[in-house]
Subunit: 248 residues, 2 copies
Amino acid sequence: MTIATGQTHLPSCTDCPIRHRAVCARCEPDELQTLDAIKYYRSFEAGQTIIWSGDKMDFVGSVVSGIATLTQTMEDGRTQMVGLLLPSDFVGRPGRDGAPYDVVATTDIMMCCFRKKPFEQLMMTTPHIAHRLLEMTLDELDAAREWMLVLGRKTAREKIASLLSIVARRDASLDARRPGGPMIFDLPLTREAMADYLGLTLETVSRQMSALKRDGVIRLEGKRHVTVPDMGRLMEEAGDDSDGGCLA
Amino acid sequence: MTIATGQTHLPSCTDCPIRHRAVCARCEPDELQTLDAIKYYRSFEAGQTIIWSGDKMDFVGSVVSGIATLTQTMEDGRTQMVGLLLPSDFVGRPGRDGAPYDVVATTDIMMCCFRKKPFEQLMMTTPHIAHRLLEMTLDELDAAREWMLVLGRKTAREKIASLLSIVARRDASLDARRPGGPMIFDLPLTREAMADYLGLTLETVSRQMSALKRDGVIRLEGKRHVTVPDMGRLMEEAGDDSDGGCLA
DNA sequence: CGAGCACTTGATCGCTTTCAATAGCTGTGG
DNA sequence: CCACAGCTATTGAAAGCGATCAAGTGCTCG
């Protein structure tokens, strides 16, 4: 297992797949050019730790492709996932040196990075970046609080259904499927990662996945390929309002 | 129970108790003057709901004094607290109309408010405000993620100890006590509110409080007045690193 | 003094964890 | 080609922790 951390200069920002969703989304062409000049790409392999909790962080960046997780670990080994980083999500905190969490690549991943100091200076002079980052941070805060309800008050079955519906809806936003039809997607997480996200054991995750399959809420091909025949049903199982999702 | 929502113009920002910690912390005197001109105060009584989840929010603001909670409720009544609002904390989200959570005053509370539209415009022209708000939002995000570990992975006893140590440390930051001595503070929350924060039932909260008292980790006078003879011990019970807190 | 509220305490139940065995899959090497 | 290690996932049985149901205490206020 060679730890070959790639480090490359790649195409310009105008062709970037996350151009319109990442921290640079609001930037004008000239601002984009400035970013283009100081950005660099880094790739990580599945399983690699991108940032260790407590380490000094000298860069920030965006996930371009692939998936990473933010996790916290107690001394005795109990771990809790506190964030799921998808393409366009931002990593790192301007204005703070130490990293509060482990960031681990769960799939092969490509990141668009900036050294922290230059990025911080850029933020001072480029309101479009600061505003977009505020907007994204507020969204993450909402997501974290949503998750607190899941962790604090939902049953194991509801937790699984909540996770599935979140992953499903994310895929839907990319594929632009019609809301009525069945949803099909791949779970990007192992059972253990799901457990760490949900505050459960991996055995309980496995049992509840089996139960949802047995009850016809989901269908499984292999371990990771999921079909949801009826999203409304899944949302009910998650304990969420089933009325939502009517985004014509 | 008269719902007398006070609405007053009060002293200038320069005398404000949260002047150096709130969203206005970074403002220059002239910027402060602009804020001063459009701010207004509102008071709420303990128990009053300040904002209903789903309602249109036409103002944002800072807690000046008192305590409020952010809560989420499922259809069947299960509720989870997702935030504790202390003096200087910011309420409301620029750029979004609907409120995602209930905001409830747990004590009598005074808020410094701004109508949303003017505040948003001000944010565009005043980077000091936008930057401070980003900083505060990132802090809240860290706090929310810290809490996810508590909700997902800690035992009932650890949860209670975590809550107590957080409240204790907050008070410490105000009182500037020496780290070695005993900590004394009042719990601003009922047992039920503690339960909603911790994802427990109020019975379990009560039992674990009794257990911590029995084991000498805390002492109680009345229901709310808490003495912690040894903070290190409390931190151990919370499952946190006990080495921390060495801030000379 | 009695109603109402916040809190405490006890007994029992049930969900999730824990411990343990097994299955399925992949890659390696004889 | 098959045996085997290593990993992920499933399933079963038993244990434990927190929830639920149910009194009961102490305080405040009318």
